[in-house]
Each structure stands twice: as structure tokens, then as C-alpha cells.
């Protein structure tokens, strides 16, 4: 990620994006920034507006309000020129049933320009795809591979990936992660919309979380993690029930003497002091995961 950044300006810059479909408000003032060379996670529950945002970025839908910049251009007006510099993998890949996988990969590459044939063949190998089969005989995972090979075999400045690993097996997910790391290494930006939080945690530098068409949280993954509570699982010699009423302890539960609670980072010292006075038998501390963050943003919230 550090070497040869070609593009220092942001790859994607969206401010206050609005889009409605009839009476449905799909996007309601969404903000999203992807810096050049960054891998950016894009999270949100079903129907939050992730795919709509991506379609606006692709110039398929027209923004109704706010500003959208893609690689310094207007995605609606300059769609054709911009698409030469981006690659896209949809979440639900539809292919022409009568064309073979190889034909589809070739066509999609040619429509975009700048394909690297050697890299394409290498990717077909890596994803273990049989390109001679007609697309209608492919499973969902194989169709996904066609789109991934077509996207990663071109030398793009921005890769837009909409839930790209749905349908892939763990081995292929690993191959996918390698591809993302490689393109990030050479300085391309990646926008990765995903539900698989472990994948986002492994790959992304920054994360944007949206809900009901609005950005609720965004920033570097590490920074966001700091905002969250740490989970503590502990067995103490003296009864730990007194902790239940301590102001800094949250989500307290007690099962057969093993106590689990969560605590803000700032209060971690105080919690440890209390535990030391009780006498620690067993202790496990879990840093906040993306899943905790995700669940906390959405728990009880009406989508």
C-alpha cells in the first residue's frame, strides 16, 4: 500500500448524496470517501443503500442531490471515460447463458480496455475456473469468479466490489484477498462492500458504515475500534456480583461464576483494579470486533 501511489487525490468523494425511487428514499445525505491507494470497507444492513450508492458511482443512476466525484470526474457525465479506469464486480453476477466463461471474460475486458492477457490467464488458473463452459452451466460461485477474473485482469485505478465473495468457497476467498492486496500494493483504491466482517477486518484500512441511506460512522478501522468497548470474561475468587452495579460496567452477565461484561477503553484501568481486589482466577479480554461495532450501530434501530 505504500509503494508507487499514482493517485493522491481521493478516488471517491461523496457528500450529501440523495436518491429517491418514487416515495422511497434510498439515499438520504450519504457521505463516503475512498482515498487513493486505500482499501475501504462499505458496510450496512440489507437495503441500507450500498448497491444504490455503487450504481450512482457507476453512472447507472443519477444523483438527485449532493456531490459525487469519481477519480476527479462526474460519474454520470463522464461515465465512459471514467469506466476505463475502474473495474467492477457485482454481487449477483448475471452472464449471457449462451456465451462461455472465457467469452464473457474477454468481452468484459475488451469493453473496459487495458486488459493484461497474461494476468487474465494467471487469474483463471488461480481461481480454478474452466473458461470453456457455457455460462448457464456455472454455479453462482463460478459466475462470481468470471466477474472477479474480468475485473482483476485489468489495470484499474479503482476497484468497486459489491459483495464479491458471496458464493465463493474459503479457498477462493483467500485467492480473492490476495488479489485485493496485490492491487492495493500497486496503488489502486478499492471500495469493498461486504457483509463478511472478518473479511473487511482483514482487508480494509478504513470503514464506512451506513444505515437507511445515511453514513453513521466512518474512519480508519483502528480508530473506530478505539471507540468501542472491550469485552472482559473473568472468573474471580471472591464473588463478582458487586460489579453489576458499577457505573462503568455494561452488559453484565454471570454464568456459574464466570462473569462477562464490556467496558469502555477509558474505564479499563478501573475495571482491572476492581478485578485485582477480587482476585483473578481466569481472565480473557477481547478487543472490540467489527461485529460488535456493527451490531451496536444497528441494535434496536429501525432500518
Amino acid at each position: 500500500m505504500t509503494s508507487q501511489r499514482r493517485n493522491n487525490g481521493p478516488a471517491v468523494e461523496i457528500h450529501g448524496l440523495r436518491k429517491t425511487f418514487g416515495r422511497t428514499v434510498a439515499l438520504d445525505g450519504l457521505d463516503l470517501t475512498v482515498a487513493g491507494g486505500d482499501v475501504s470497507g462499505f458496510l450496512g444492513p440489507n437495503g441500507a443503500g450500498k448497491s444504490t450508492t455503487i450504481r450512482v458511482l457507476l453512472g447507472l443512476l443519477r444523483a438527485e442531490g449532493g456531490t459525487v466525484q469519481l477519480l476527479g470526474g462526474d460519474p454520470w457525465r463522464d461515465a465512459v471515460a471514467l469506466h476505463r479506469r475502474i473495474a467492477y464486480v457485482p454481487g449477483d453476477v448475471t452472464l449471457w447463458p449462451n456465451l462461455t466463461g472465457g467469452q464473457a471474460i474477454g468481452l468484459l475486458g475488451r469493453l473496459r480496455g487495458n486488459v493484461d492477457n497474461r494476468r487474465r490467464d494467471e487469474l483463471i488458473e488461480r481461481f480454478e475456473l474452466d473458461p470453456h463452459k457455457k455460462a448457464r452451466t456455472y454455479s453462482k460461485g463460478n459466475r462470481q469468479k468470471v466477474a472477479l477474473v474480468a475485473a482483476f485482469s485489468c489495470d484499474a485505478q479503482l476497484y468497486i466490489l459489491d459483495e464479491p465473495t458471496a458464493g465463493l468457497d474459503p479457498l477462493m476467498e483467500k485467492a480473492f484477498r490476495e488479489c485485493v492486496r496485490e492491487v492495493a500494493e500497486r496503488g489502486a483504491a478499492v471500495l469493498l462492500s461486504s457483509h463478511i466482517l472478518a473479511e473487511v477486518e482483514k482487508l480494509c484500512d478504513t470503514v464506512t458504515i451506513i444505515r437507511s441511506g445515511r453514513t453513521v460512522r466512518s474512519g480508519p478501522l483502528e480508530e473506530l475500534r478505539h471507540l468501542l468497548r472491550t469485552t472482559v470474561k473473568v472468573r474471580t475468587r471472591a464473588g463478582a456480583d458487586g460489579l453489576r452495579d458499577a457505573g462503568f460496567v455494561h452488559d453484565f452477565s454471570d454464568r456459574d461464576g464466570t462473569v462477562t461484561f464490556s467496558v469502555d477503553r477509558a474505564d479499563l484501568d478501573r475495571a482491572m483494579d476492581r478485578l485485582t481486589t477480587l482476585g483473578i482466577d481466569e481472565l480473557a479480554v477481547f478487543p472490540a470486533s467489527l461485529e460488535d461495532m456493527f451490531l451496536r450501530e444497528y441494535q434496536g434501530a429501525n432500518r
Binding site: L58, L61, R110, L111
Partner: protein, 535 residues
């Protein structure tokens, strides 16, 4: 239905029709608007046509002229058999002129409905959910057939009443309408069979439509051989309905033939369905193609995607052209005993007839043009357009290349149809020059195809694919039923196919105007398409 198959399933406690009721309700619910419109239009046709004919041919002399025209081979191909008796009675004329159109229309409705609820569902994957629930093996097919049966029963009743309201005897009306819907049931069952044979809905639909076209042509040739029906006529189920002789001398046993054939085809569909697995056809289609040629770009993609249908259509048009052209000789013979025809021929030679024949071929080709362009709407819905438009492809290029590809395809089709027409006429008359002249005339229809493609592009841009099909319906109606339905002159004249009168004349101005209109429509469509949301 084969009771044996059902009984054997009973024994294995796996009733093959479980869930039929629920599926039928679902199908009826999904199609409620579509079917209502079809039924209403077809019923109205039965009210309108007899009255229009009464107005168009008020006196005995006009009627006699009309009947004589219909006795010509071309008239017989597009009408029906003549059984003698009082041929100028209004009922006889209605049965003669309207039955074939109504049979073709209702049969198309049956075919589309059956495929839509059987093979198309399997292809889209929606059937997988259905089959995973408590549903018998044949329930989906028979729910579709039951829906078609209900539609045809409703149609038979409604059309009979509509026709009888004009003042005909109820029995004759019932015979005519039951014959029509009986044929529609046969072709619904044909579609149930083709749905088992091919894996793709388009192929299954095309095959069933091909059977329908063949049946229509065979009936026509049979009746040309002998005007009350020859042995060849009886090979086609369409003839069976006409041979019920509604309004002349009603007889019911040919209707039994229709019922038996329908039942036999349904049984065949059961046998075929029991021999295949989910989402496969009885006829294997190759899944691998190692040497597949790369596709060069958007235009190449359009050409590749329309290649299959294009091959089928060219064969169909070539054969229809041959059939049309080969009737020229019998037309010449008919003129000897038909004074009206003799007068027409001495005035215009065969050119008027050649023009009409070429126009019929062109009208058929408009359906190909619209289906090729309107495919973009389906691609948008299915998500196929997304990867293309996410590439470096402008909306203009995507839409306009589709229009150009469709027009090129139509040029090839017109060439095939006109070549068939020319060869048929040239051989029967022994004039080699006719071949070249008629083939060249086919190309004159390309600007008209451009106009239709432009309308279809507009339909895609406005997200209203039915506008394209409306254009096809209009062209066919204006050509085929325009005079009969007493449509206003300007409406008939607005048809681009009707405007092209090659080979009789070469209306250069009209061709130029149509080319401009075609470009204009496509341009407007592209502007609208560029400025709307895709998907």
C-alpha cells in the same frame, strides 16, 4: 391424462399433481391483467368484425367480389376453406375470413402462457423454490395447462355470446368459437411438450410457434389443392376446426379430433417430463465450447446474441416465401375462371400480388426486429446490462448498436424471404428474371424495418417494451385486417410496411422519409435513454 402414470405414482405415495390448486391460483394471480386484456381484445374482435364486414360489403355484388378474391390461392392461404352453399351469407364470410386469425391469436396466447409458467420459470430459477415445496412432479405443467384451459373456456363462452349478439344462430357461433379455442388448446399442449424438450424458454416458444406456423401453411396448401379441403389439409389441426363447417353445415366430430390430439399431447408431455431432471431438456444442449470465438465488442455481442433466432427466422421466412411464390401459378390458373381476378391481373400484372406477398414477409420480420431491440429491456431487468454499462460503453453505443444489429438482421431476413418468394414464383412461371427482381424488392423494406427498430428503441428508452409489440400488432393489423376492419385510411397509410410498395413501385420519397424517421426515432430514444436511470 395417462391414468397409468397417475396410478403408479399413487402407489408410490407421491401424487404427481399435488399442489396444482395453489400453483393455478398463483399463475392466475400473476397473469390476471395480461389475460384480461387478451380476452377482452379477442372478444371485442368478435363483436367488431362481423359489423365491420356488414358495412364493408353491404350488397350482394360487393360480397361476391370479396368471396371471389378469397377463392384465389393467396386468399385461401390467409382465409379458410369454402364449402359451397350460400357463400355470401355474412356468417359464412365471418367464419371464412376470421377463423384463421383468431386461431393463430388464441394459439399464440396459449403457447406464451404455458411456456411462461413452465420452462421460463425453470430457467429463471423461480421454479426451484416451488419444486422444493410440496408439489408433484407434473403439477407445474398441469397448472399451466389448467390455466390455459380456463382461459380458453372463458374465451369460447365470451366469443360465442359476442358473436351471437350480432344475430347469428347460437349453435353456429358455438361451433366456430369452440373450434378456435380447441385449436388453441392443441397448441397449449404442443407448448407443454416443447417445454419438456428444450432447456431454454426461448427455444421452446420458438419451436411451438414453428409448429403453429407449419400447421397454418399446411392447412393453406391443402385448401389451395381443393377449396373444400384436401387430404393435405387434414394433416393440420387448424383445418379440423374449419372443417366443423360452422355456418354452413355444422358437424361436431372434427372437434373430437382436437380433444383427442390435446389429450395425446398432454400424455406425451407427462412421459417426457418423467424422463428428464430439473432444469434440463430431453434434447441435450452442449455445455462446453472450447474453441469459442472471442466477442469483439458491444456490436459483436448483439450480433452473437441474435444469431440463433436469426437462423430460425431465416429458414422460416425462406420457406414461407417459397410457399407464397409458388402460388403464383395457381393464381394464374384461377384467373381463368375468376373474372375479378382476371381484371386485377390484366391491370397490374403479378406485381400487386408480389407486393402483398412481400409485405406479409416484411410484417413477420417486424416481430424479429422488435424482439431483437426489446431484448435490452430484459437485459436491464435481469442485470445483464449492468456489466456492459459498467465497462467503457456509452448508453448511446449500447442502444444504437442494438438498433443497427436488428436492422442488419432484418435485411438478411428480408433477403431470405424475398429470395424464397422469387424462387417460388420464378420456378412455377419459368421466368428467371423474377428471382432477381423479387429478391431486390425485399431490400426495399429495410427502411421500414428501421422505423420499427426506432419505435422499439423508444420503447426500451421509455421502459415500455409493449410499445414495440404494439407497433408489430399495428403493422400486421393494418396490412391484414385493415380493409376488413374499416380502419381509417390515414391509419392504414401510416404503416411503414404498407408504405413500401416494392416491387410494384419503388417509392423513393417514402423510403427516404422512412430512413430519416428511423434515424430520428433512434436519436430521440438514445437521448431519453442517456438521461434516465439505468436498471
Amino acid at each position: 391424462m395417462t391414468t397409468a402414470a397417475i396410478a403408479s405414482h399413487r402407489r408410490s405415495s407421491n401424487p404427481p399433481l399435488t399442489g396444482l390448486g395453489g400453483l393455478l391460483a398463483l399463475a392466475a394471480r400473476r397473469d390476471r391483467i395480461r389475460l384480461t386484456v387478451w380476452i377482452a381484445v379477442l372478444t371485442l374482435m368478435m363483436v367488431y368484425a362481423p359489423n365491420a364486414m356488414k358495412l364493408a360489403y353491404p350488397g350482394q355484388a360487393q360480397r361476391l367480389a370479396r368471396v371471389n378474391l378469397l377463392k384465389t390461392p393467396a386468399g385461401t392461404m390467409l382465409g379458410g376453406p369454402m364449402f359451397g352453399g350460400d357463400q355470401t351469407a355474412l356468417g359464412v364470410m365471418v367464419a371464412n375470413e376470421l377463423m384463421l386469425t383468431m386461431m393463430v391469436a388464441t394459439s399464440i396466447l396459449s403457447i406464451l402462457t404455458v411456456i411462461r409458467h413452465t420452462r421460463a420459470e425453470e430457467e429463471s430459477g423461480a421454479a426451484e423454490l416451488v419444486m422444493s415445496s410440496v408439489v408433484g412432479r407434473y403439477a407445474r405443467t398441469f397448472a399451466a395447462l389448467a390455466l390455459v384451459a380456463i382461459v380458453n373456456a372463458v374465451l369460447a363462452a365470451a366469443m360465442t355470446l359476442a358473436l351471437a349478439a350480432t344475430g347469428f344462430s347460437l349453435l353456429d357461433c358455438a361451433a366456430m368459437c369452440l373450434g378456435i379455442t380447441g385449436v388453441a388448446m392443441v397448441f397449449g399442449a404442443v407448448a407443454a411438450v416443447t417445454a419438456q424438450l428444450w432447456r431454454q424458454a426461448r427455444t421452446a416458444t420458438g419451436a411451438a410457434m414453428g409448429v403453429l406456423a407449419t400447421a397454418a401453411v399446411v392447412r393453406g396448401i391443402g385448401d389451395v389443392i381443393k377449396s373444400s379441403g384436401s387430404a393435405v389439409s387434414w394433416l393440420s389441426p387448424i383445418a379440423w376446426a374449419q372443417q366443423m363447417r360452422a355456418f354452413v353445415d355444422v358437424r361436431w366430430w372434427p372437434f373430437a379430433l382436437l380433444v383427442v390430439l390435446t389429450a395425446a399431447l398432454m400424455a406425451l408431455s407427462i412421459v417426457l417430463e418423467s424422463r428428464r431432471q430439473y432444469d434440463t431438456g430431453n434434447l441435450r444442449s452442449a455445455g462446453e465450447r472450447p474453441g469459442a470465438r472471442p466477442i469483439r465488442g458491444v456490436f459483436g455481442l448483439h450480433l452473437t446474441l441474435q444469431r440463433g433466432p436469426l437462423v430460425g427466422w431465416s429458414v422460416g421466412l425462406l420457406l414461407s416465401g417459397l410457399a407464397f411464390g409458388s402460388m403464383t401459378k395457381s393464381l394464374q390458373d384461377a384467373a381463368k375462371s375468376n373474372p375479378l381476378l382476371a381484371r386485377v391481373l390484366s391491370e397490374q400484372g403479378f406485381d400487386g400480388i408480389y407486393t402483398t406477398m412481400t409485405q406479409f414477409l416484411a410484417a413477420a420480420t417486424t416481430a424479429f426486429v422488435v424482439s431483437a431491440v426489446v431484448r435490452l429491456s430484459r437485459d436491464e431487468e435481469s442485470g445483464l446490462a449492468e456489466p456492459v454499462l459498467a465497462g467503457s460503453v456509452s448508453r448511446w453505443r449500447w442502444l444504437l448498436t442494438a438498433v443497427v444489429a436488428a436492422v442488419l438482421g432484418s435485411a438478411l431476413l428480408m433477403l431470405c424471404g424475398a429470395l424464397g418468394n422469387g424462387v417460388g414464383a420464378g420456378i412455377t412461371l419459368g421466368e428467371a428474371s423474377t428471382v432477381l427482381r423479387l429478391t431486390a424488392a425485399g431490400i426495399a423494406y429495410v427502411p421500414a424495418m428501421g422505423v420499427i427498430a426506432g419505435v422499439a428503441a423508444l420503447a426500451v428508452a421509455l421502459r415500455r417494451p409493449w410499445i414495440g409489440w404494439l407497433a408489430v400488432t399495428y403493422v400486421v393489423t393494418a396490412l391484414y385486417l385493415g380493409a376488413l376492419l374499416r380502419l381509417p385510411r390515414w391509419l392504414i397509410d401510416a404503416s411503414p410496411v404498407g408504405r413500401t410498395t416494392a416491387p410494384a413501385h419503388l417509392p423513393l420519397t417514402a423510403l427516404a422519409v422512412m430512413s430519416v424517421v428511423a434515424v430520428g426515432l433512434s436519436g430521440v430514444a438514445a437521448v431519453i435513454y442517456r438521461n434516465r436511470d439505468a436498471l
